[in-house]
Amino acid sequence: MMSRTFRNLCCVVLLLSGMQARAELQIDITRGVTDPVPVAVVPFTHAANDGGADFASIIDHDLASTGRFKALARASMPAQPQRAADVNATAWRTARADYVVVGRATASGDDITLRFDLINVLNGQLLLSDEAITVPQKSPRKAAHRISDRIYEKLTGVRGAFDTRIAYVAVEGTPPSQRYQLVVADADGENSAIAARGNQPLMSPAWSPDGEWLAYVSFEKGVAAVNVQKVRTGELRQVSARAGVNGAPAFSPDGKRLALTLSGSSGNLDIYVLDLASQNLVRITEDPAIDTEPAWSPDGQTIYFTSDRGGGPQIYATAATSGSRARRVSFGTSYAARPRVSPDGKRLALVTQEGASFRIAALDLASNTMTTLSRGALDESPSFAPNGAMLIYAGREGAQGVLATVSVDGQVTARLKSREGEVREPVWGPFTN
């Protein structure tokens, strides 16, 4: 009785401290292109209901995080116009801007509407004119990210992925007594919220294709179980708690099935596909080796996975049906694991070993060439941005687990600094707008 009271008290304390332990990330460009394009985002006029949000600064930050753009400092701005008609191209060229963004916010009921223009001041061309974005007043940052998306797409031809979310695992405390949190945040690390927490490991988060659900592995009951949780409401479904390993969940592209790894009590890990509605379970691989870390091709036909059937871990591909033969797809490295498929299905991101280091590499499936993208000693868990332009992954700096991004050509890297302890296993969510 006494112990229960105290345990409950202890839990309340943990709950409160956990709520404060918000994961705030801050982005540092660690390696960029040699000549990033200078963009001047002029401070927007405010709406009465925007809570003083600094839209221009959020856009600056988004664009700079790609390493391909740099923000023009406000002190260097020749003027602070709000409309394209008031932009003096010559003055901005002299200030060394290539592009200028001007905008204004207005309140409309419980919404904020942002209107903005994008001007190429090198040739005076108006690239985006009086574009409007409306968001609920409680999400002013979202409006800025959507503007960043439009600007990025206009300037690069690639859809922006700033208005997306990430999930990751945060760990507090030192071994052997650690506490685990599953955190969901905007792609820039802001607006973080804790989706799940506990004193037992949480791992392997995976987004549903509609961004509504997260699948993950929980050891809450001492043994592994795969949970599926609705992000918005916290609604929780335990979808697999079979004997042995229940791990590595991955939603199929149609969102109706979950690939996962099961071992049964025999301890032999194989890939299965679970139909979420019917609970029907189909065995995909059948091999005495470790088969795990399934990843779907975008068309849902192929499952890539890690297997050590040939000795060390390598990547294999199999049809997403029962009894198919697997073919090996990674060569030329002694260790290749945890594949993730690019949105266009043309390449895999994976973890490879180089000497004593574990790094992120991209494997082009057509040419079978592997390119190392990261430079850390213990990099892991790559995840593609939904536009395929960047990857987010986990690395280690000293004793600290950190998150980082790298462009798919390896040219641009950025580190997301966390104010809390260890962060790991980032997964980039889908487009939702």
Binding site: S3, C10, L14, M203, V245, A248, T261, A337, V351, A377
Partner: protein
């Protein structure tokens, strides 16, 4: 008696500072059963786990886990390996003989890896290590029903740090007596 037991549970819960986890389990993981006792093996009347090192091994199983040898409950492994190193063969055999002679006693084998490589693959490696120890125990006559396995991969390190010293402590199977 019961009150005392609850008090111990509470003390353990606070010490572990791990509310919501299972304090009894954490407690049990440090306990080693005493040969010849029944019921709550390793937990005396006052609820405090003991390891009776001085008591001679007698009765079924010959070498009970009360011996110095079997007080070792952690089996360590080489990198990317689930082979049992020579130095641990006797340790596992001692646990095996005890369990074979005490068919109501159950263990959970918790497999772990170091932090290198991918996490779910490491879950596989940890499971493979646990299965290797399970098979070694069964060779001693332990019944399969007495053995549960779980793999935590690299998720629950015993030692912090990113060097071989920490890694070598983390590549392990812990033999946890669960009753």
């Amino acid at each position: 008696m019961k009150r005392k037991h609850l008090f111990v549970m509470f003390a353990v819960a606070v010490l572990a500072a791990a509310c919501g986890s299972k304090p009894v389990k954490e407690d049990g993981s440090t306990a080693t059963p005493v040969a010849g006792t029944t019921g709550n093996s390793g937990v005396q009347g006052n609820g405090i786990p003991t390891v009776d090192m001085g008591r001679p091994a007698t009765g079924q199983g010959a070498v009970g886990p009360n011996s110095q040898l079997a007080a070792q409950r952690v089996i360590y492994f080489d990198f990317d390996s689930s082979d049992i190193r020579n130095e641990f063969v006797d340790v596992i055999a001692a646990h095996g003989r005890f369990l074979a002679g005490n068919a109501t006693v159950r263990v959970r084998l918790e497999g772990h890896t170091d932090e290198r490589g991918s996490r779910e693959y490491n879950i596989g490696l940890g499971e493979r290590r646990a299965q290797t120890v399970k098979r070694a125990l069964m060779l001693q006559g332990v019944q399969e029903a007495q053995i549960a396995t779980v793999s935590y991969g690299e998720e629950r390190p015993a030692a912090a740090g990113s060097d071989e010293n920490a890694w070598s402590k983390n590549r392990r199977v812990e033999i946890v007596y669960i009753n």
